[in-house]
Structure formats: C-alpha cells, structure tokens
Amino acid sequence: MKRPTMSEITRAPAIEISGLRVYSPSRQILRDVCLAIPHGAVFALLGPSGAGKSTLLRCINRLIELSPGLRVQGDIRLMGRSIYAPGSDVDALRARVGILFQQPAVFPGSIKKNVLFGVRHLGKAPKRLWPEIAERALRDAALWVEVKDRMDDSALELSVGQRQRLCLARALAVEPEVLLLDEPTSALDPLSTEAIEESLRRLRGRRTLVMVTHDPRQARRLADRVACLQVRDGAGEIAESGSALSRID
C-alpha cells in the first residue's frame, strides 16, 4: 500500500476551502469551513447526520446550486484556481470533479450505455476508444469480471451493490481529477462494501478522493486525512482535522 509521500502532501493542496458558509432560507447550515485537501489523498469527512457533510461535498462541485434556496459564501480553490471565479464553467468543473451518491442512480438502458454516459455526451474521447475506456473504468470499479459478458443487458437488472459500482465506473470513465463520495457504502451489503473499498484503495494516489462516511472504522481503513464536522448552535462546523492515524480514536 503506497501512501502519498510527504512532498506530495505539502505541495499546494488539490482543494482548498476557505471561509465557506452555507445558508438555507431559514438558517445557517455550514459555518466557516476551512480545509485543505492534498493531491492524491483520501480525505474522509466524519460527523453526525445532519451536520452538513453532504452539503459541504456538494459545494466542491457546485452541485449545491441546483438545490434552490441555498446560499453559498466563501471560496473554494481547485488546483489553486477559484471555482467561483467569474466566467468559470460550472459544467466543466463538474466533469473534473466527479461525485458518487449514497443511493446509486443508474440510467435506464444498458450497462455499456451507463458506463459511457459521461464520455459520450461530453465528447471526451473518440468513439473507437470507448470499449477500452469502459473496460478500464469497470476494472477500476471492481465490476468488470461480473459484467464483461453482458454489457448490453439492462443496468436495472443489477443488484444495488453492483449498481453502485457501476455508478463509480461511470464517474471514473470521464477521468475526473477529484472524486467526491457521499456515504458510498452505507446502503450496501458487506461484500459490495468490500469491493468498493478495494477499488478506492487502488485509486489512492491517482485521484484525490473526498469521502463522507459515518463509519470511523472505514475512515481508518481508507483515509490519509480526516475532518470531523459537528453541530454547534444549529450550524455545522469543522471540529477537528488532521492525519487519520492520530485523529480517529
């Protein structure tokens, strides 16, 4: 298992969140969140439910803007560039920062169509490369062996665990620099959880992973760094953050 070297971690962080506040019409949801997430690290966000973990995650790829009524203040820098800079392209940002939700949302249609969904519609790669891309993404998501003979079957026939891995493959196929994972395994059986964890472990170093989890043991198994959110006066804030081994206990 290769951990990122010190020099990699001390380089300018992949994601730098500073002074992030999120308000709903009635109250504050997040208060002054500051975080630096290093390149190639696996960064785990812990905290009680309702602390604003998902909200924080959705700020990083600006998916938050699709939920009406929420207001975001502060700044987030991705690879040193502010994602809120005027004239920046939200959709391009979301292609660079993939996301995996708690519940897998597969599109009706074949498995192949699902894996290649982003590649196809973003026009990222020429058509002849598609089979190769699909295979690589499915291998990375630890699903290839199970589906390689039925790529044209409906994706709706897969089990929940397989669907979640399919969604992971779909996100990986567009080669995002950062992958956000919102409790990716909390709806899954132990076997699928194991498979997903295994593929996340293999992605370490190649992608920056930000993972929300409510399971400290999972964070210990996977993460290099952790941050804990807590609720104080009704709004979520960072309670502590640091390297995984020292913090979780």
């Binding site: 790829n61 998916l63 292609a95 949302a105 599109f107 969904f117 519609h121």
Partner: protein, 316 residues
C-alpha cells in the same frame, strides 16, 4: 391451545363477515355498474341508431366525398379530413409550445415562479370553450383574414382558424400533463447527470425527456382527443362548408378555406332536419360514432401509456 382455537374461530368469523355482502358494498357495485354501463349504452345507442347507414352505404360512408342529403348521398370523408386537419394544426401549434413550457416549469423555474405559471395554466384550462369561440369569432377570425389578405380569402372562417383556436384550447392540457410527466422523473437521475458534467440541456434531452416521453405522448393523445371532439369553438369559426374534399391531400389551399368537421356538422341545425328521415338520421349519428371511435381510441391509448410509465417507474 385454547387460545389458538379462539383465534381461529375469530378469524373464521371475520372472514364470514367479510364475505357477507353488506348493503354498502351492494349499493356501491350497483352505482358503479350504472356509471360504467353508461359508456356501453352510449356506444350501443350510437351503433343502433346509425345502423341503417352502415347497411346501405357501407364503406362508401367512410370513403364517399359527397354529402347530399336530398339525393341520399352520404360520404363522411370531407368531414373526417376537416377533423384531422383541425386537430393536426392544433397539435402542431400547441405541442411544441406546451412541451417547451412544461420543460421550463418543471426543470428551469424556481418553485415560486413555477407555482405562478401552474396557477395561470390551471385557470386557463378552465376557460369555457364557448368563450374561446367568442374570441375566435370576434378577434381571431379578423386576424386570420388579415394574415391571408394577399391570398384573397373569402372570409376568415377557415380550417386554419379552427385549428389555431383549438390549439390555444388544448395548450393547458398538454402543458400540465407534460409537466406532471417530467416531474415524475426521479431527481436523483438529474443529479447524477449534472454531477457528470452534463449541462441543463443535455440532462433534459438525454436523461429526463427519454424517461418522460410516454407520459408526454399520453398528454398529446389526450389533447388530441379533445381537439377532435371540440365542437362549440370550431363551429363558430370553421366556416361549416360541406363537401370540401381536397384535390391533393397535402396541399395548403383547403386549409385556408372554409371546411367542416365531424363535430361542427353534428352541432348544426341539420340534425333537426335529419330527424324525420331514417337514413339521413343514421348518417348523422354515424358521424358521432366515428368521432367516438377516434376520440375514445386516443383516450384509451393515452391511459395505457400512462399505466405503462407508472409501472416502469415502479420497476426502476
């Protein structure tokens, strides 16, 4: 042991109670049967009354291009043509606008603006057809006349006028039902697509619309049924000119001249004249039967599509 025995007898009693048809249940069944047999009665009465014309004219009734009651020539083809023309013009106008507006309300607008539009549309759906007819007679007819001025039309009463008017009438139907269909698509699919970096248009066209398409087609079919059967508004602006069979089926000229639809024919005073003459009467009622077939078919198809989508949504 006795406890189980007691439970058993109790459940047996409960079953007996359930099996005994109560007065409430009996009444409900009778009322339901009355309600549903009204549909059968409608169909049977129309078939029975129009029987003579099917027997005498047969297929010529459908294909015949002449309707001359004095010579007992009954051909419904021009009216079928007129009905279709009006319905197609109406759908051609209303479907794109209605679906576009539904996309706007369900996908793009924030909650409050969406509610406003929906309220307006619900109210628009409540405007009586005779009011549309009045506006058609006093306003739209003049506009169409002005529009067609260079072609030197006889009047503003044309199939086109009828089609435009019906188009406005069915717009709310298409809009609300399409909006419902679009909103039926799970939000998680939208989030997944946006999360991959697809923009709003791509998400709507690639993910939302394909899912909602059966519901949207159902909306169009329901609107079609209404357009086919609309009488009052069409009656007032369509010109009610008999025997307007177009020489070339796809030419535009007949559309900008007066015509007749099945419904406008039935709404006219000819029905009172026809009542004395069995064959003429049968021919008139036959028009109603044709209308019933077309509109009822559209409604049934719409229902089946909606059901299919419902089951589809439950499956995924």
């Amino acid at each position: 042991m006795t406890g189980i025995r007691a439970l058993e007898t109790e459940s047996v009693q409960a079953q007996k109670l359930a099996r005994r048809v109560s007065l409430t249940q009996w009444t409900s069944w009778v009322l339901c049967l009355i309600a549903l047999t009204s549909l059968a009665a409608l169909v049977l009465v129309l078939i029975h009354e129009s029987w003579p014309v099917w027997r005498v004219a047969g297929i010529d009734y459908l294909a015949g291009k002449q309707w001359l009651s004095s010579r007992h020539l009954f051909g419904a083809a021009p009216m079928i043509y007129g009905t279709m023309a009006v319905a197609i013009i109406a759908l051609g106008c209303a479907a794109p606008i209605g679906i576009g507006a539904a996309i706007c309300t369900s996908e793009l607008l924030p909650r409050r603006a969406r509610l406003t539009v929906k309220i307006l549309v619900e109210l628009l759906a409540g405007v009586p057809s005779v009011v549309y007819g009045l506006l058609g007679v006093l306003v739209l007819r003049g506009w169409v006349y002005d529009l067609l001025e260079p072609l030197d039309p006889l009047s503003g009463d044309t199939l086109l006028t009828g089609g435009l008017l019906v188009g406005v009438m069915i717009l709310p139907t298409i809009l609300t039902l399409s909006d419902d269909a679009l909103r039926g698509v799970p939000a998680s699919l939208r989030a997944a697509a946006r999360g991959l970096g697809l923009n709003a248009r791509e998400t709507i066209c690639r993910v939302v619309l394909p899912q909602a398409i059966p519901g949207i087609i159902a909306a169009i079919l329901l609107a079609l049924g209404r357009a086919l059967g609309e009488m009052i508004a069409v009656f007032l602006v369509v010109g009610r000119q008999d025997n307007q069979w177009p020489e070339r089926l796809w030419s535009v000229t007949p559309l900008i001249s007066p015509g007749q639809t099945l419904a406008s024919k039935l709404g006219g005073s000819e029905i009172h004249i026809a009542h004395g003459d069995p064959l003429h009467w049968a021919a008139m009622v036959g028009l109603g039967l044709l209308l019933l077939g077309m509109a009822g078919g559209a409604a049934a198809a719409a229902f089946l599509l909606q059901q299919k989508q419902l089951r589809h949504a439950q499956a995924s």
